[in-house]
Amino acid sequence: MARNRPAETKPLTEADAIRLAQKGDAAAFEHLYGLHSRRVYALCLRMVANPADAEDLAQEAFLQLFRKIATFRGESAFSTWLHRMTVNVVLMRLRKKTLPAVSLEETMDPDDENSGPKRDVGAPDLRLSGAVDRVNIERCIEQLPPGYKTVFVLHDVQGYEHNEIAGIMGCSVGNSKSQLHKARTRLREHLQEELRSQARQARQDLQDQPAAKAVTKSNE
């Protein structure tokens, strides 16, 4: 079950709201929007890392949903339907923006499936435990290819289960698990690279310090 699922704060149930919205009731649309907008906006924001784009995408996702609400028959959960639409809208936007640089097919590549965990022979111990903070994980999530990012955000940030993600993404449970694993592996590599870069910078700063002090002393 996803974390922080939207709580029913009004007496109107989601099913009632859907039925009323299918008849064009404005309050029902607002109720449905209120139930799901925080989660949809968070997903969009995490996917594009730009508030203006996230606003556009959230609006577009809800617009597409409400245009088709008359056809909703309840075969799947409403939230799954909405998230599927949101993911499609976001991926389409990202595909348009990033196709020359990162193709969506990249997310489906076998990607060294049969090799074991990467061994950094001779590299210093780069365990991430205690070294991952909100800023660097957000930065590294941004760098993930869209498909990996979607599954990672849905599972590890928003708390959806693989069967729910399979429904949202239109893929198998096994595929969702595989994508998540690859996303985590890629994130780990990005974060390790960040840590190495920070370590290099720290060493450089240490080397520069005595030299700078010497220059200052000679000028005196």
């Binding site: 922080n4 064009g24 404005a26 649309f29 968070a42 245009r67 965990p117 365990r127 940030v157 985590r184």
Partner: protein, 209 residues
């Protein structure tokens, strides 16, 4: 167990279900220990990120406007009879006309609402009550107008005269041809215009007095 087998297990089952076989391998393999520890750190950091974020209010405003424009959301005017009486009532409420005038107009409009087959009224006087209510209001406005002689008030009076003439023309046509839908539409619109002008005259005179 090999490293690839452990990694496949982590991929399929996650980090929480590591059994004896996996633990035995981890005890001997630093690379796999690092992998599992790093994934745990990553997962923990990701779960600390907000799963929900308040969207800015303009998203709903823009969305609602779009839904209304596309008639996906039906507004009150769409849902109700969509006759002019509703907009007229809203209009008068907006202008806060006095002494139950809005209610009187609404009652009158309901009696004579279009199409006539839904609210049958005598063909000879299809809009008589509406006309009577508006006439009484004209008298009220004219009383106020004695002290209001600004160019705006004069212009409004002139417009009122034009609309009155048009109403007279439409009424004649409606009496001659009760089934003429265009004449009914014109007459309805003319009464609405007259009401708007009266409301504007009231606002203007209130400001001048």
């Amino acid at each position: 167990m090999k490293c690839t087998e452990l990694e496949r297990f982590v991929e399929q089952e996650g980090l929480d279900l590591l059994g004896n076989a996996q633990q035995e391998h981890l005890a001997e393999c630093a690379a796999c220990q690092a992998l599992v520890a790093d994934f745990a750190a990553l997962t923990s950091a990701a779960r600390a990120l907000p799963a929900e974020v308040d969207p800015p209010p303009q998203i709903w405003l823009a969305l609602r406007a779009q839904l209304e424009a596309e008639k996906i959301i039906r507004t009150s005017s769409d849902l109700a009879s969509s006759s002019w009486s509703d907009s007229l009532a809203g209009f008068f409420r907006l202008h806060a006309l006095q002494f139950g005038f809005a209610a009187a107009v609404l009652v009158a409009a309901a009696l004579v609402g279009w199409p006539p087959e839904q609210h049958p009224v005598p063909a000879a006087t299809p809009y008589a009550e509406t006309a009577a209510v508006l006439t009484r209001e004209v008298a009220h406005v004219q009383t106020l107008a004695k002290t209001a002689a600004s160019p705006v008030s004069q212009s409004l009076r002139a417009n009122l005269q034009v609309v009155d003439n048009f109403i007279a023309t439409c009424e004649r046509r409606v009496q001659q041809e009760p089934q003429d839908e265009v004449a009914h539409e014109y007459l309805t619109g003319a009464y609405q215009q007259k009401a708007e002008i009266l409301a504007a005259m009231m606002d203007t005179q209130a400001g001048e007095n």
